[in-house]
């Protein structure tokens, strides 16, 4: 016979707040809430008093005032009469630009180094181990400064390209590496279909997206045929044609040309100028983060057990298909989450731009604007808000991806 023992129906006593597990968590949370409120009140009160003493207030009106400083590297129209908000926008786009570029190159460096580190070739794997250890164990700030120094102190100045017997010359007559930055040819359309160059590039992008969808269709159809008949039709040439023909046609119609940089007066003009700070930041971030990604890639590949490779070989798959169909999908599940947190690190480390004078958002909003207006609190809060948004967006993407590749278990 079982008897249920009811909890004792003793009347509530004050000591139960601490000794009874039913109430204790409430007590602790109440204490925590009071402590939190008190500290917020204390800090807020200090803030108000300090601001009053300094004759300041919290206001974001300064964002509308003219910034009064120039930014060399910019993706949108900007001059010194533009507002502080516009300067912050220029910085924001610059941050996104360098983060995007560095993510791509860091992935390339990392994958190459990670795969080569597992190579059977002794000297190559050791070389890659040295690369990884050297770059992981030295602060990224030092790397940024080192590469910036190479860009400014070692590269020739534009004047060395002048004269009859110049000491420096352009690479292939197309690229100029100077201490002010690297000049590369700029593509443009002679008779674009639209008036503005931006619209023409959007058109090119649209065509590329269209090609991508078309190739997806072709692959899906090939998979369908394979499922029905067991023979997969060759899709390589079709896909190549889908990619190249519309693209080339568009280029011919719009008359693609290249504007090659040339020495005019004391400096190069024409072409696209990639400033020294941007290159230093981009390259340093990619090569530093590449070392971390290499370790992730290596760990991911090693995480796939040897039995998987052997089983795939036993099924008669060829080495390439073993890699593509069995090893990589499983390795990617291990590699991608740390890879995305490395992307996050790149985005955050790009704030080191301020050390080499690249006008990212930290340098514009958190640097010059802050110093000019003295609006420390507002600027730092906006800065944090931007980075928080970027980080949370990236982690959200990561969570969606993780959910989609999670092992489907019962």
């Amino acid at each position: 016979m079982t008897t249920l023992t009811d909890p004792p129906k003793a009347s509530f006593r004050l000591s139960m707040l601490f000794n009874d597990t039913r109430y204790r968590s409430l007590t602790f949370q109440a204490i925590a809430a009071v402590a939190l409120a008190l500290s917020i009140w204390y800090l807020g009160n200090n803030l108000i008093q300090n601001l009053r003493a300094a004759g300041l207030n919290i206001s974001y009106d300064f964002l509308g005032d003219p910034a009064g400083y120039d930014i060399n590297q910019r993706l949108v129209e900007y001059d010194s009469q533009s507002s502080h908000a516009k300067a912050a926008l220029v910085g924001l786009l610059n941050t996104l630009l360098v983060a995007f570029l560095a993510c791509i190159t860091a992935t390339i460096f990392g994958v190459i180094a990670g795969v080569l580190r597992l190579s059977n070739n002794w000297i190559v794997s050791k070389l890659m181990a040295v690369y990884v250890e050297i770059f992981r164990n030295i602060p990224v700030l030092i790397w940024i400064i080192i590469i910036f120094t190479i860009m400014t102190a070692v590269m020739p100045g534009p004047r060395e390209f002048r004269g009859d017997n110049p000491t420096s010359s352009m690479v292939l007559d197309l690229f100029a590496f100077t201490n002010r930055g690297v000049y590369v040819p700029m593509p443009f359309f002679e008779n674009g279909l639209f008036g503005s160059p931006t619209m023409n590039w959007v058109l090119v992008l649209l065509v590329a997206v269209g090609s991508w969808f078309a190739t997806r269709k072709v692959s899906a159809r090939a998979a369908q045929i394979q499922a029905d008949t067991g023979v997969r039709p060759k899709t390589l040439w079709t896909n190549l044609a889908i990619w190249l023909v519309p693209f080339l046609a568009l280029m011919v119609i719009m008359g693609l040309s290249w504007e090659v940089p040339a020495l005019k007066g004391f400096n190069f003009s024409g072409g696209i100028k990639i400033g020294g700070p941007l290159i230093a930041l981009w390259f340093a971030l990619s090569i530093y983060t590449g070392a971390f990604i290499a370790e992730n890639v290596r760990a991911g590949i090693q995480a796939v057990s040897k039995g998987q490779t052997e089983a795939a070989s036993a099924l008669g798959l060829r080495p390439r298909r073993v890699m593509n169909l069995v090893v990589l999908p499983q390795a990617l599940r291990v590699i991608i989450p740390p890879l995305i947190s490395q992307y996050l690190n790149i985005t955050k480390n790009s704030s080191l731009a301020i050390a080499v004078g690249y006008a990212d958002i930290t340098a514009t909003l958190g640097g010059i604007t802050l110093n000019q207006t003295g609006r420390a609190i507002e600027c730092v809060l906006l800065l944090m808000l931007f980075y928080l948004t970027a980080s949370l967006t990236i982690s959200m993407v990561m969570n969606v991806y993780n959910a989609s590749v999670k092992l489907k278990e019962r």
Binding site: N121, L127, P139, T362
Partner: protein
Amino acid sequence: MAGPDKNSIAFVATEVIPESPPPARETGIVKWGRENLFSSIPNGILTLVSLWLIYVILSSTLPWILNGVWTTSSLAECREVLAGKTGACFSVLTERWNQLLYGFKYPTDAYWRPNLAFVLMLVAIAPVLFFDLPRKMLVFTALYPFVAFWLIWGGTIMAPVVALLGFVIAGAFFQKFGRSNFALGFFGGAVIALIVWSIGGALIPEGASENAVLSAVPSRDLGGFMLNMMLGLTCVSLSIPLGIALALGRQSNMPLIKGICVVFIEFVRGVPLITLLFVASVMLSYFFPPESTVDLFLRVVIMITMFSAAYIAEVIRGGLAALPKGQYEAADSLGLDYAQAMRLIILPQALKISIPGIVNVAVGLFKDTTLVSVISMFDLVGMIRGPILASTEWNGVYWELLGFAALLFFVVCYSISQYSQWLERKLHKGH
């Protein structure tokens, strides 16, 4: 018929053929080279490319390093000595050695103090790193922060003594009451320590630091690699307890406490360290009482500690999550309360799992201490970019200085990560 004649059998070997050596291509270095360097054509190409790369790197750096000049007093003199040959001007390191290590304002006659503090640090840290050493040494580790503070900042010995006294009395209180009631012991101890500090602080006479045995050094005079070491060590050791508390808070089933911890951790992890340093340099002073003056070093320590605590909390949360649920249930079934279960069962195991992660965070943090140069503190990088490269004698000596900084950080970080791997192998109790 006669027995089989010896010659009627076609061939019988009558003596053992001597063992011949294996073919040359199947032994020794040749075999190793064939298998590891030239097993296929692409592999051979890779080998050659790597060799060429190594040659390029060595041929450009070795003469430069070996030709180095160590004894001149300025770049111009150094170039004279080199007379057009390639060579490094390492004399900037010898001439500015003290600045690189201690910053340019630390009193010259007091260099022995940070040196002594550094040596004592090795002694203090040894029992933490190597478990085989006698446990009694931990007493010195506990005393070390106060000793080091007194050595580096100097001033009256009363300040560290009062600080130590507060901890000792609070610890004694915790020993007495914490066994039966953790919350009472902990919070009671904290209150008692605060009381001791405020009474002690009031007792220290004004101007006690002026005629102290060790002359007082203000925080803004600290610099060089010493500053990096101090920031790294202080912030890591402060952030481990804070990180444990945050990780436990995040695991808690009290929604308010969990919420506070989650918001704090995600906020700090979402912003770059630089913005937090900006907070330390331009914003944090607004949040202190109007008449107080909290110096920049302390503000930076607060922000970096918060930063690394959030990362360490995430590492420890991983360790907590990796423990089998049975451990929590076993602790409950033994009748242990929360504090006992955590202290005796959960945390020892969870921390052991998290050690490699914590070391990774520590290495990352140590590298990140260079960022303080951005808010114009003169750490190693700040010294190089500021006073040394800007001086007329050494304007233009980039590679020697940057290479030296890189080497220092590499040595420290690489040894820490090797230690972590060694520890991981040692702690690995599996099969």
